[in-house]
């Protein structure tokens, strides 16, 4: 029935059988598609170039004014500070007008400038943001449908210290979009009065990427404002625990040492490994016996063995721990043996003597490793 119908249509309109008719249609569809795409390419290029021209000219104007605001140019013209600021705000309002593109460009320009500034210069840019009521733009974006808009709004709030928006931002902490979650997390780190207090009830993942971002921010924070990371060592969320151990290690929080010691008895190998490395980095000599005891139980785990041996190389007792570290010279995994030689070298003359005796008396050939470690260009 259907084939008869098609046949009648094609033969009556084109004089074609169904096969050629279909082929003709496919050709026409794809050729028209290709033409549309070509038009799209040209249109995209024209629009891009127009947008660039407009954006460049606006950015140029904005930057001129922002430069004056940042360097406090008001005094040279004999105006009062407030009057000059108002004047520049008026100019910015004039250029940005009511166009959302122009206002967004202004916002981006302010953010871009603020990124590289601190002190009064950064403060005056924040003041500009509020004076132009740009927080309303950010609010609008936060309510937008697209996640990209929301993420941009959250970043703007965070950069402009808009602490009132914390309840709004928190709403997206468990969003399905990874970027939105990340922006939200970073905003909370920046905006909360006590940094990282949201971790108390945080259930999400802190990826290595977020660790890098948060660490970068905390590096520029007054260390007195940093939380005591050991507070979170028993957090129910593993990624929070790992994050806090690594932060305690990086910020050399010696108050975390007892907490770190407890963690070496954890049933999670990652936590134990990180805690052991942290104890080594924090020069926790007082806990070397505990680490030595742990060394007797880690033989089966390559990564953990390496970390424990490296830790003993840093904080171990040269007289008593040399034998224990030396045992790892017979470990089946090369990286552990390598680490053991390195640790023994760090344990000074006792370690050196142990290596020398081991080399003479053992069947195991560690000569290449010893030569490697005595090569100055490799160490």
């Amino acid at each position: 029935m259907l084939s008869q119908c098609i046949e009648s249509i094609t033969s009556s309109y084109f004089g074609l059988a169904p096969g050629p008719f279909l082929a003709l249609n496919v050709t026409l569809v794809f050729l028209s598609g290709a033409m549309i795409l070509i038009a799209g390419i040209f249109a995209s290029r024209i629009l891009k170039s127009r947008h660039k021209k407009l954006a460049d000219s606006l950015r140029f104007q904005y930057q001129k004014i922002l430069n004056k605001i940042v360097v406090n140019e008001m005094y040279s013209e004999g105006r009062t500070a407030d009057a000059a600021f108002e004047f520049y705000m008026g100019e910015l309002r004039l250029y940005s007008g009511t166009s959302s593109l122009a206002r967004q460009l202004l916002l981006s320009q302010i953010l871009e400038n603020k990124k590289n500034l601190t002190g009064n210069s950064a403060t005056v840019l924040v003041k500009t943001y509020y004076a132009l009521s740009l927080q309303n733009e950010s609010c609008k974006k936060l309510k937008a449908f697209k996640w990209q808009e929301k993420a941009l709004a959250i970043r703007e709030f965070a950069e402009m210290n808009h602490a009132q928006s914390i309840p709004l931002i928190e709403h997206y902490l468990y969003s399905g979009k990874q970027n939105l979650r990340e922006e939200c997390l970073m905003a909370l780190v920046r905006l909360e009065e006590k940094p990282l207090s949201f971790l108390d009830h945080y259930k999400g993942e802190i990826s290595k990427w977020m660790r890098i971002n948060i660490y970068r921010f905390l590096q520029n924070t007054d260390t007195r404002r940093l939380p005591v990371f050991s507070r979170y060592f028993n957090h129910s969320n593993l990624s929070v625990r790992l994050f806090c151990i690594s932060m305690a290690r990086r910020f050399k929080q010696s108050s975390s040492l007892p907490g770190l010691l407890d963690l070496i008895y954890s049933d999670n190998a990652q936590v134990v490994g990180l805690a052991v490395s942290a104890l080594g980095d924090l020069d926790a000599y007082q806990y070397r016996h505990e680490i030595a005891r742990l060394a007797n139980h880690v033989w089966r785990f390559e990564k953990l063995s390496r970390k424990v041996v490296a830790c003993l190389g840093k904080i171990g007792d040269p007289e008593t721990d040399v034998g224990l570290v030396g045992k790892f010279l017979g470990h089946p995994c090369y990286p552990v043996r390598f680490e053991a030689v390195s640790a023994l070298k760090k344990l000074g003359s006792h370690g050196e003597k142990y290596l020398h005796d081991f080399n003479l008396n053992s069947n195991q050939n560690i000569k290449p490793l010893l030569r490697h470690f005595s090569e100055p260009l490799l160490n």
């Binding site: 050629p20 598609g33 995209s44 290029r45 990874q178 290595k208 890098i212 490697h372 260009l377």
Partner: protein, 487 residues
């Protein structure tokens, strides 16, 4: 009405060709749309990322750049300097002189003040003997390690690099490629952000012919002047932007280009490293790593970055291109043969059920079926069984589809990375896309067929790959061609 065996054969052959072509077209269309969507997401995501954070972070993983070199005396010094100046903090450059017959090693020794050191090589992977390990006495080059070994091929050299590396990640690269300064930062990112373990990440490789290169850095992107290179530009855009991005989204990516790929060292070693018995060692490693993870029941991901991160010089002569494509065809078949156990094997997930069959039917088998179709057409034409009207319409639809996909790729490029900014570049590319199906594609099919024939003959070699050198080097104010440089 079907009556004779000849008619039945005719009907079966025709139907098979039609079904195959339609499936292939739908497959490519699906991948193209998925890629475009994924790329859009990637671009949006990247607006919020400051890669410099990785640069200065103590949490950034260590990376070993492994670059095998064979008879690269002419350009090796510039190439190594370019690698050493890459934007990353925790990295080392391991250059493996794979038994070069020219003065590659001597040049490196004198340029970087290298001396032989007693390096304890762990032999996690079997390789040809290492003759010596060299380090620089100049602290400025402390990140450089040079290994001199007996010639064993690219895979063998890369395995030596895997043995020497002490870092968490290894970037295997072609020493003559130009790597974007921020390439490592971008490639490392997926390893940091994914909750699922990322075992490898690959980036887009672009064609550098006619681009302006200054001291190992690409300073100006230009469309190649030669048509043969322009065809390859189009091919690469299509393959990388419209293919691999989608496979990555489906977590079914089987190939990370040997020119630039980043791998988790321990997984690469545990999986057995590079296989020197195949000329498709890059694809084979990814497949092997994936199989290892599947068999360990570990969740994993192979990531792909659509940003242009690596620029390579494409063959500028048909005979050299022929050797390359011949090798690619052999490499594909060898990889598929080595891992045939995963073919439609549900144990291997997307890789076994989708990626491998797709590669088998639509990458390896495509030129063979295309050629068989051509033979069928010739046979039918001789016996006068061709409906010429239908033939031209079918040919037209194939052509239209090909141009459509190329335009889709060009539009994607235009709206994403926009590397070819000159107005006439886009016109040239549109024209290239229009003539490619007649001029370039048949040759590629023929070379792939030759590759398969060479496989039957037992050919195992790479085939000589001579390069012209980057067409333009700018020294101070004036542009200098390689010929002028030699003069």
């Amino acid at each position: 009405m079907v009556t004779t065996p000849g008619d039945i054969l005719y009907f079966v052959a025709q139907t098979f060709m039609l079904v195959y072509a339609v499936t292939l077209s739908f497959g490519y269309l699906f991948l193209a749309v998925l890629s475009a969507w994924e790329m859009r997401e990637h671009i949006f995501k990247n607006r919020f990322i400051d890669y410099d954070y990785i640069l200065s972070s103590p949490f950034a993983p260590g990376v070993s750049l492994i670059a095998p070199a064979y008879n690269e005396g002419l350009t090796i010094i510039d190439n190594i300097k370019s690698l050493l100046s890459i934007m990353y903090n925790n990295f080392e450059v391991i250059v493996i002189n794979d038994g070069s017959k020219d003065d590659t090693l001597e040049k490196m020794i004198s340029a970087f003040g290298l001396v032989r050191v007693d390096y304890d090589l762990r032999n996690a992977l079997d390789t040809k003997p290492v003759r010596g390990v060299y380090k620089s006495t100049n602290r400025a080059f402390k990140k450089l390690i040079v290994i001199d070994k007996v010639n064993g091929g690219k895979a063998d050299a890369l395995n030596v690099g895997l043995n020497v590396s002490n870092k968490e990640l290894v970037a295997c690269i072609d020493v003559d490629c130009i790597i974007e300064p921020d390439a490592l930062l971008k490639m490392v990112k997926p390893f940091l952000e994914n909750p699922t373990e990322v075992i490898a990440s690959g980036g887009v490789v672009r064609i550098a012919n006619s681009c302006v290169v200054e001291e190992g850095r690409l300073v100006e992107v230009r469309l190649p002047e030669k048509l043969i290179a322009r065809f390859q530009v189009l091919e690469y855009i299509r393959a990388f932007l419209l293919g691999r991005m989608a496979w990555s989204r489906l977590n079914g990516l089987l190939l990370i280009s040997g020119a630039f790929g980043l791998f988790k060292r321990d997984i690469a070693v545990k999986a057995g490293g590079y296989n020197h018995k195949t000329v498709g060692e890059d694809m084979e490693l990814v497949m092997k790593m994936r199989i290892y993870m599947q068999e360990q029941n570990r969740k994993y991901k192979v990531a792909f970055i659509p940003d242009p991160l690596c620029w390579t010089e494409a063959p500028a002569h048909y005979n050299i291109l022929q050797r390359q494509r011949n090798r690619w065809a052999r490499g594909t078949y060898e990889c598929l043969k080595i891992h045939r156990k995963i073919f439609f094997n549900p144990k291997y997930g997307v890789m076994g059920m989708v990626s491998y069959p797709f590669w088998f039917f639509f990458e390896w088998l495509a030129p063979i079926i295309e050629f068989a179709g051509f033979l069928l057409f010739v046979g039918l034409a001789i016996v006068g069984m061709i409906d010429w009207m239908f033939f031209f319409l079918i040919l037209g639809s194939g052509y239209a589809f090909s141009v459509f996909i190329s335009m889709f790729a060009l539009l994607t490029e235009e709206m994403s990375f926009f590397k070819y900014t000159q107005k006439r570049d886009i016109l040239k590319m549109i024209l290239t896309a229009m003539i490619e199906p007649f001029w370039f594609h048949p040759r590629v099919v023929w070379w792939s067929l030759q590759g398969n024939l060479d496989l039957i003959k037992g050919k195992k070699t790479w085939g000589e790959m001579t390069r012209e050198g980057f067409v333009q080097y700018r020294t101070k104010e004036k542009i200098v061609t390689p010929q002028q440089q030699v003069a």
